[in-house]
């Protein structure tokens, strides 16, 4: 049995009080730290054009409602990603359409124009359309959870804060969703 993780991880980065958000320079720092990874995440889900809108809207909403930031519900990262997640969810039909287009044609409308990825292209060519089909078929909430981890690179605790669910639920729902993906991918090799 492993040792209990009884004491919160040491944290070196001191946390900001909500009142700091009244200082635009503080907001500027938030933008520099969080906007780039958020943009990449949104672009992977919806394409670069919509990602621009999502990031702009996220920071405008955050600024406008900055007094709603509650440190007890998570850090500033979770706060901003919660806003972005809700905005992305409004586009779930467009998102699913993009996955289905990829599944159907083998060409990803989201990455057209980007340099080729340095991975095993053969594997990618056979599995990515299946993966895309599986993503299109996931429940909205499961897709958010899976992609916050795989593409957003958030920790389970951050995902729990973003989605407002216990961290144990993150883990169990991720397991279920991964099983669905495995099944979808398994169908590739089985014929």
């Amino acid at each position: 049995m492993s040792t209990p993780d009884v004491i919160p991880e040491e944290w070196d980065e001191a946390l900001l009080r909500p009142s700091s958000l009244d200082d635009p320079r503080c907001f500027d720092d938030l933008f520099r730290r969080h906007a780039p990874p958020l943009h990449r995440y949104a672009a992977r889900r919806l394409g670069g054009h919509l990602a621009d809108d999502i990031v702009a809207a996220t920071f405008h909403q955050a600024l406008q409602h900055r007094h709603s930031y509650d440190p007890a519900r998570g850090d500033t990262l979770s706060w901003l990603w919660t806003i972005a997640t809700n905005l992305i969810r409004r586009h779930h039909r467009s998102e699913a359409r993009l996955y289905r287009a990829l599944a159907r044609t083998g060409v990803d409308p989201v990455t057209e124009g980007h340099a080729d990825l340095v991975v095993d292209q053969v594997t990618a060519a056979t599995t990515t359309p299946r993966l895309a089909k599986a993503l299109a078929g996931l429940r909205k909430a499961d897709r958010d959870l899976l992609l916050l981890i795989a593409w957003g690179e958030l920790s389970y605790q951050q995902v729990a804060d973003v989605l407002g669910i216990p961290v144990g639920t993150v883990r169990s729902r991720l397991n279920r969703t991964r099983a669905k993906l495995r099944k979808a991918l398994g169908e590739v090799s089985d014929g």
Partner: protein
């Protein structure tokens, strides 16, 4: 085949944009719109951007933000906040290689003496030094929030947590407070403009409980190397007595549901309450042993093994 790995490769060619380019492409501008409530004098002080980037502020917000900035002492030249170094009997602050270095001269001083120093150099920093276990001396042990810490769980990938703004430590590194020139030091990024409140561990005085108990079986602690988790109380008590430590108890209860607040390879929702030594049987089970003050161990115990949350078992 690892589906998560495949998923991570999907669309991975989409890059993380440069923040300045992103700000430009989505119209996140550095200039703040002018508002009639502000005089030019204040704007020139408060709103001259250090770097050519920043925010669009909605008109309705401008007045409030302007007020917040105008009243801040740190933006008024000539007033407190403009000093480039500061010293009083408690703290000494100097700029060094692009960061503020605050050397603690008196770790038992009133925290207001530290705040005074930070204010003098233009920082809104509330530092409290709190009694801590020797391993926590010089570490940040708390902040002004009560929520969950964003701690990665076993199996998680490293998560980017942004730039480190504040660090604390003993200087010279690895020294013992009270010996030679050893002191606590706080380092703060030169361009930090926010407000922050945090706690750093200092050596505890005799009989003074630690602000944040530590796991007594961890490296560097008094029960280092002793297995306490899920062992009978009698066995762990032997180890404690061998080391001539005192012991107190806390009873742990596990619940079937609720947010998980503890984890091993399973998740638990636990609550704790003090319990008298006379009520604790030798065959009770130890959840963990904590150092709560110099020479005192707290055993967290339950009559039977604790039950994890149902959902974490699948």
């Amino acid at each position: 085949m690892d589906e998560m790995k495949l998923l991570r490769h999907m669309r991975a060619e989409i890059a993380v944009p440069d923040p300045d380019e992103l700000a430009a492409s989505i119209g996140w501008r550095s200039e703040l719109p002018t508002a009639p409530v502000r005089s030019n004098r204040w704007r020139s002080l408060a709103f001259t951007p250090k770097r050519n980037r920043g925010l669009i502020i909605g008109a309705a917000l401008t007045a409030a933000l302007a007020a917040a900035l105008v009243v801040g002492p740190s933006v008024v030249p000539g007033a407190p906040g403009s000093a480039t170094s500061y010293a009083n009997a408690a703290i000494e602050i100097e700029k060094e290689n692009g960061e503020w270095v605050a050397k603690i001269k008196d770790p038992l001083a009133d925290h207001e003496r530290y705040a005074e120093g930070f204010r003098a150099v233009g920082l809104d920093v509330q530092l409290r030094l709190v009694p801590a276990s020797p391993v926590d001396v010089g570490r940040v042990v708390g902040g002004d929030r009560s929520g969950p810490m964003p701690s990665p769980l076993p199996g998680d990938d490293e998560t980017p947590s942004g730039r480190t703004i504040i660090t604390a430590g003993k200087e010279p590194s690895g020294c013992q407070i009270g010996q030679g020139d050893c002191h606590l030091a706080i380092r703060i990024a030169e361009d930090f403009r926010g407000t922050v409140s945090f706690q750093v561990g200092r050596p505890a005085q005799q009989g003074e409980p630690y602000q944040r108990p530590t796991l007594a079986t961890d490296s560097g602690e008094v029960l280092q190397g002793v297995g306490a988790h899920e062992r009978p109380v009698a066995e762990v008590l032997d180890e404690i007595k061998k080391r001539d430590l005192q012991v107190v108890y806390e009873r742990v209860t596990s619940h079937d549901e609720g947010p998980s607040n503890y984890a091993t390879d399973r998740y638990y929702h636990l609550t704790f309450e003090p319990v008298d030594a006379s009520e604790v049987g030798p065959d009770w089970v130890v959840w963990q042993a904590r150092s709560i003050q110099d020479g005192v161990i707290q055993l967290q115990v339950s009559p039977e093994k604790l039950k994890p949350l149902a959902e974490s078992t699948n």
